[in-house]
């Protein structure tokens, strides 16, 4: 039992350290690069495949260690078993009264049926209106080109 707990804690530390070092690697490259740019190198590339690889290389043992422990843990069935048990937060449980009445029922009532039909009709109307007003073309125009700001490049 103690061994399992220790395993989980070591794995947590490895995960946190890997993520922290990956973040630190990017940040240090960025700070170093901006300093060079501030010194007058207008076209200095902050990130290059070579620089990124050089920073990532020392982190690889941690990453592989964490991956190895994950595989080992999955094979040995080591996991935090608390996650499968019902929640024991008293305050939370007190708020769970009257579930039967509030839950979504298998037999939809007339109100749900009407609302569902109305939304379906509305959705169809909106889609047709959108196709007519050029909304479809807008989605294609955005999707066909790499969205630089979306992926963090721009």
């Amino acid at each position: 039992m103690k061994g399992r707990k220790a395993f989980l804690i070591v794995q947590s530390v490895l995960c946190a350290a890997t993520a922290g070092l990956l973040a630190a690697a990017a940040l240090s490259l960025y700070l170093e690069g901006t300093a060079r740019q501030a010194a007058g190198d207008l076209f200095y590339s902050i990130f290059t495949p070579e620089r990124a690889a050089a920073r990532l290389l020392p982190i690889l043992p941690l990453l592989f260690g964490s991956l190895g422990m994950t595989v080992g843990g999955l094979i040995l069935g080591i996991r935090d078993e608390n996650q499968d048990r019902p929640v024991r937060d008293e305050k939370l449980l007190r708020s769970l009264g009257g579930l039967r009445d509030r839950a979504v029922h298998q037999q939809a009532g007339p109100r749900e049926m009407y609302l569902r039909a109305a939304i379906l009709v509305l959705a169809a109307v909106l889609i047709v209106a959108g196709i007519l007003n050029g909304g479809l073309e807008d989605v294609l125009a955005k999707g066909a080109v790499i969205c630089m700001e979306c992926v963090g490049l721009g």
Binding site: Q11, A19, S45, D89, A103, V104, V139
Partner: protein
């Protein structure tokens, strides 16, 4: 018996056998990203199917994506709400919402799969509590602020494209888009564009990923605005987990065992994962699509009867067969059959373009730095015709842009200003084929007279000919002889344009071919005009020293030099107070150029300086102008 009971209590599947839901998640992720060749060649799929949105969160800038992300499309639509009402995306979201609700999150969202896989890493887990329930309201704040308010205010109000959630937060964009694109060697030039935004998004992605290791679906529960939108529809969605009130004894086990922050089955937090179906001793819960049971109680006192189970399993097998056939077809279509609409594909028609290299036959024709740009002709928006070879003798800048690309729109005014202040430069701005109508509207009131605009066409475009990528903006600079001196996908500032212009001019100043300095990146990283010094201090390097003085022999501090071979240039540090610049370089013959000098100085008209292994120290004289 005990084993069965334990398995039932924990809701776990038999070890080694993936749950049906996991297979559906994997299937959806593969189907959304069926353009697998995109990961290899580094280009996006840009066919008509991209006009349709997939139900889950899947970045449309992922090279594998065959459809658009509904959340990104919504922000884009709200951004453009000033001139086009966002009916289409709202209709799509309403359709997915009413048909599936948050079943999308639980079953067919690739980000959901990633989060659940991360959560499988064996670590201590943070369980749901009053705190996580409060945090689950945060996603509505993200929806209101980043998805609705900012794009609406900035877009409709100020005319600035700002998909704030995608830009500042979305880990799907970083993981699928940035990492997906950058892992391909074809996009190594894009590394040059990574700056603060990428650094920030990278750290955010790692933070969210780490949180997901410890906390079940942390992004989905606390951040995802798409889940928040679908949550509004959950109560009356056609598909979802639903309760049979005749069997329910109100024991609360469903909510107590649910890993999400639900208050009851099917509420706005419920992702219909079906864990409660196994947890319910009364067999009161089932995953339904209308009246059809997709997953119901299979054991216990109210288990579905055996004939019904057999019928359901048979239907399931047939559905899987059809689904797998559809996936195989999609894979074959996108990876083997569909023509590529891009730089290197078979769809390169370019009927109006001609590949020829009339002025420098010794150079290869192409768009890499140092190559002779292929000649082409195209029709301008003004109705005139543009032929590249007509502009021999002038520096030409070709900019590729798109009206949906925020960095493009930010640099266009700088190009206009640069064109106004440098009438000897020809600037051709080519709009991507998608959204050409919107581009016309955008340009209508601008009054930009110093740029020549062309709208590219899908079938016979300039983009494939000039090797433009799917990333916008891209700028190609040609010197007076039509040789490419710069080609990169990156927004440019005015100062950078000026620097590129000077470099392009410098190549054509009467020097012979052998003396010509072609600005070329040291690696495949195109777009890196000058290479900074450093990066190792190999023993075989030598120290070259240049002493810079004025005409009176007084030292000139703050002067930056570039040491150029025939293929590369390296930037120096500014000269010190004694006017000395030292550089450790590989033994070679370098042509030294001044790239930056303090105000009040100018170069001598005829100054040419070479330095090499035989003359490792040299002197450079600048003219200090009167009064300085």
């Amino acid at each position: 018996m005990d084993k069965k009971k334990n398995s039932r209590e924990t809701g776990q599947k038999k070890r080694g056998r993936p749950a049906g839901r996991r297979l559906v998640q994997l299937y959806a992720a593969l189907l959304y990203n069926a353009n697998l060749k995109g990961f290899v060649d580094g280009h996006l799929y840009s066919g008509n199917l991209k006009a349709a949105c997939v139900p889950g969160l899947n970045c449309y800038s992922c090279p594998g994506a065959i459809g658009s992300c509904p959340l990104g499309a919504l922000q884009n639509a709200l951004n453009a709400a000033g001139h086009t009402a966002p009916w289409y995306v709202m209709g799509i979201l309403a359709l997915f919402g009413v048909m599936l609700g948050r079943t999308v999150c639980g079953w067919i969202c690739p980000m959901g799969l990633v989060q659940e896989l991360l959560h499988r890493i064996p670590t201590p887990k943070i369980r749901k509590s009053g705190v996580t329930r409060k945090l689950s309201s945060l996603k509505y704040v993200f929806l209101a602020v980043f998805v609705v308010a900012v794009p609406l205010i900035w877009g409709a109000g100020k005319g600035i494209i700002l998909p704030a959630f995608c830009k500042y937060i979305c880990p799907a964009g970083t993981l699928e888009g940035a990492v997906g694109l950058l892992q391909s060697p074809a996009n190594s030039s894009s590394f040059g564009q990574l700056r603060a935004l990428f650094t920030g998004k990278w750290i955010i992605m790692l933070g969210i990923g780490l949180l997901c290791v410890f906390c079940f679906r942390a992004f989905c529960r606390f951040i995802c605005p798409l889940g928040a939108i679908y949550g509004f529809f959950n109560r009356f969605a056609l598909t979802g987990v639903k309760v049979n009130p005749d069997r329910c004894v109100d024991c609360g086990q469903c909510a107590a065992r649910c890993p999400m922050d639900v208050r009851h089955v099917g509420d706005h937090e419920c992702i219909s994962c079906g864990k409660c179906i196994a947890a319910c001793d009364q067999g009161a819960i089932a995953l339904k699509c209308g009246r059809i049971t997709l997953k119901g109680p299979e054991t216990g006192k109210n288990a579905d009867p055996e004939p019904a189970l057999r019928k359901r399993r048979k239907a399931g097998r047939i559905a899987w067969g059809i689904a797998l056939a559809a996936l195989a077809l999609a894979m074959a279509w996108f990876n083997l059959i569909s023509p590529r609409m891009g730089p290197s594909g078979s769809a390169v028609g370019a009927a109006d373009a001609e590949r020829e290299a009339d002025s420098a036959p010794d150079l290869m024709t192409g768009t890499e730095v140092g190559e002779q740009a292929p000649d082409f002709s195209t029709e301008l928006l003004s109705g005139e015709s543009f032929r590249l070879s007509d502009y021999r003798g002038r520096v030409v800048m070709i900019n590729f842009w798109a009206v949906t690309c925020a960095p493009c729109l930010e640099e266009l005014p700088d190009f206009e200003r640069f064109g106004r202040e440098h009438p000897d430069v020809e600037i051709l701005a080519v709009h991507h084929w998608a959204g050409a109508g919107k581009a016309r509207d955008f340009l209508a009131g601008k009054g930009w007279e110093h740029l020549d605009f062309a709208l590219d066409s899908r079938e016979k475009g300039l983009l494939p000919l000039l090797n433009a990528s799917d990333a916008m903006p891209q700028t190609i600079v040609l010197d007076r002889q039509g040789v490419v001196t710069y080609n990169a996908q990156a927004p440019l500032t005015y100062d950078q344009m000026a620097e590129l212009y000077r470099s392009a001019l410098g190549e054509d100043d009467g020097r012979t071919e052998g003396e010509r300095t072609v600005m070329q990146p040291a690696t495949e990283t195109a777009g890196q005009l000058l290479i900074p010094m450093g990066g190792g201090d190999a023993a075989d390097k030598r120290t070259y020293t240049v002493v810079i003085t004025d005409q009176n022999g007084d030292p000139a501090a703050g002067v930056m030099l570039a040491f150029c071979t025939d293929t590369t240039c390296r930037n120096s540090e500014p000269s010190d107070e004694d006017g000395i610049v030292s550089a450790r370089l590989e033994p070679d013959r370098y042509h030294v150029q001044v790239i930056d000098m303090p105000e009040g100085f100018r170069e001598e008209a005829e100054s040419e300086l070479y330095i090499g292994p035989d003359n490792q120290a040299a002197a450079l004289t600048l003219i200090r102008e009167a009064g300085n």
